[in-house]
């Protein structure tokens, strides 16, 4: 294979460990077209001689390709799945060729709305076509093909990473040996859709958003993105977890807006999380990835979810999180049941925690237990 690690990245990340690969023209399934598409990615370990030891790790909404790695100035928290990926860990680069790529539509090296459209010389903005979970998976398939991968031993991820893991099993049944969607279902429910809409509305209402053409204005829709992030954070945690962590305790950080009779810690936490995201994420990209999450329905393009699930040949293991209210455990379990009814080798396990949706980025011991292959397959 020949790869040009820097080719065509319109927003090439200034991080030596991140590679970029030009996958070329791309036709998103809902229309429009993209040229000179680039995916940023990172790898750990080596592809074996039979090219079938690859593990694809899928990141969540605001994640990136840096799934593994020690903390650094660029990644002050280190890899977002560092406790999961590494020698002797659940996903071991001594055995597997581990890949994580920034999704199509993202803003961490892959082509997205902040990228320059080669045909106009200006950032796409909202002229970027709507991309779906399936588009993300199809783009990744091209990258894996070019890397010489012939089979995925495992594809795994949480949230929209879980949607991608599921879609891999449906879209490329012969390419996937095992798929593990964590905290994801066949389709997001109305409560999640509603919370997305709050975020979308907040970004689009920000006067700095300028219908997405803010890149050369010197202003960014930070207020809107902050509010969207706050709404997102609410869906990532549980009531019980928030009682434990925040309760009604007074704020420990300085206020970012006018105070009204004191402030609570949960408020300053949300404000901090909102502000933090604006320093590393593009608002348009947030809109596109959020929409991909909303629109994903495993049955899209099929007569029913049953027909979609019946495509699956991989072992399909769903992991639910008991206190998740974005993708409730009962709905994850129902997806596993539907898949099994459709003939897929689908199983389900649960992480019992107060951490909410975010448990897949926090509850390491429980996560590692949940994602390990069943005993009869190791």
């Amino acid at each position: 294979m020949t790869l040009d690690p820097r080719a065509g990245a319109s927003q090439a990340p200034a991080r030596p460990e991140i590679l970029t690969h030009r996958i070329g023209d791309f036709e998103p399934e809902l229309g429009g077209s993209l040229t000179e598409v680039v995916l940023a990615y990172e790898t750990w370990g080596e592809l074996n001689a039979t090219a079938d030891n690859a593990v694809l790790v899928e990141h969540a909404l605001t994640g990136d390709s840096h799934a593994s790695g020690a903390p650094s100035p660029e990644h002050r928290r280190g890899g977002w799945w560092e406790p999961v990926i590494g020698p002797g860990k659940a996903i071991d680069p001594d055995k597997y060729f581990v890949i994580c790529s920034n999704v199509l539509g993202g803003c961490s090296g892959s082509t997205g709305p902040a990228s320059v459209d080669p045909e106009t010389g200006r950032p796409y903005g909202m002229r970027f076509p709507v991309v779906t979970i399936r588009d993300m998976v199809r783009a990744q398939k091209r990258l894996l093909d070019d890397l010489g991968v012939t089979k995925l031993a495992l594809v795994i991820g949480g949230s929209i990473g879980g949607q991608q893991a599921l879609e891999w099993a449906v879209e490329f049944p012969d390419f996937v040996d095992r798929a593990v969607p964590v905290a994801a279902t066949g389709a997001l429910g109305p409560q999640g859709l509603g919370m997305s809409e709050i975020g979308r509305r907040a970004i689009m209402a920000d006067p700095n958003w300028q219908d997405g053409d803010y890149y050369d204005t010197g202003k960014r829709p930070d207020d809107g993105l902050e509010i969207a992030r706050m709404a997102g954070m609410m869906t990532y945690q549980s009531a019980a977890g928030q009682w434990e962590r925040f309760g009604r305790r007074p704020a420990s950080r300085s206020p970012i807006h006018r105070e009204q009779g004191g402030r609570f810690e949960i408020e300053s936490y949300l404000q901090y999380q909102g502000r933090d995201l604006t320093s590393r994420f593009d608002a348009n990209s947030y809109l596109y990835l959020l929409r991909a999450m909303d629109l994903y329905d495993v049955s899209n393009g099929y007569k029913s979810d049953e027909e979609a699930y019946s495509q699956v040949k991989a072992d399909l293991h769903f992991v639910g999180i008991t206190s998740d209210w974005l993708f409730p455990a009962a709905e994850v379990k129902e997806s596993a049941k539907r898949a099994a009814q459709a003939g897929a080798n689908a199983t389900y396990s649960e992480i019992d925690t107060k951490s909410g949706h975010d448990a897949f980025l926090k509850d390491w011991a429980e996560l590692k237990e949940a994602i390990k292959p069943p005993p009869n397959r190791t």
Copy 2:
């Protein structure tokens, strides 16, 4: 008693059924002062000779004094508790003198941030002092005193109306015979506080908000208020109820903002609810009432919630709603338990429904069953 039905109302409602009463100067408990405070109110039925047949009905966040009444051009949905209040209904004006007053800080006839400050001749805006649930109750007490009421046979309400019902029992123990907080606890949890913060942030981020001084600009922070309302609506419904009502069905209304790959009904519902509120509600008032909800803690001013509950002499009946996530039933039940442990005659019942928090404005049969006095007291 002498009442001047129009005295001093800075935003006198153009509805003949609404009365206003000047309660005079008022010192909010957290500081600041108000002069010439007016409360708007409506009544049904007559005060009896012993002046002890009064029922005070407390409205929720964006409600008003119009608890009962047939639909009219001004109130196209009619009274918000019409099925509960009326001859032969759960609260019968043939037996009781029923009163509902717009809260202090509101925008439906009572003095609030949109009112003109008599000392400056300009609307208060954010110079309006922070008002608490206790302040609302203390202001209502003045109104009831002036109306000649000597005892409340019942004080009842849902959400912040429930907080007020509870506070009445704590603050004026000898004045209340029975208090029924519905869908309210001794203190809002962090998940509710977080959702409030999203709304607050959205209003304050709206450039039209102008730190609250938008009244003479010709522009209103409608985007911010719409987003705040959307966040509120999410807390008023349950996941199960939203699946039933909206599912992932496509939108039936026109979009109000840029579309991204189709639209869902839950989105257009939220957009509609947001827009609808801006036609009848003041954004600053929303901020103040939301803050009163956040800040309310039955233990405020006492050593503990136990000490607060120990003040109560009324029958105190909490009503929880099984699918409520703003004031979860388990927390309402816990409040009842704490009150009983403190020596109050506190009881608890539950409305089993998918309607979520809003059940107290929807599930009429269950509500009427829950709020009726226990058999041994009728």
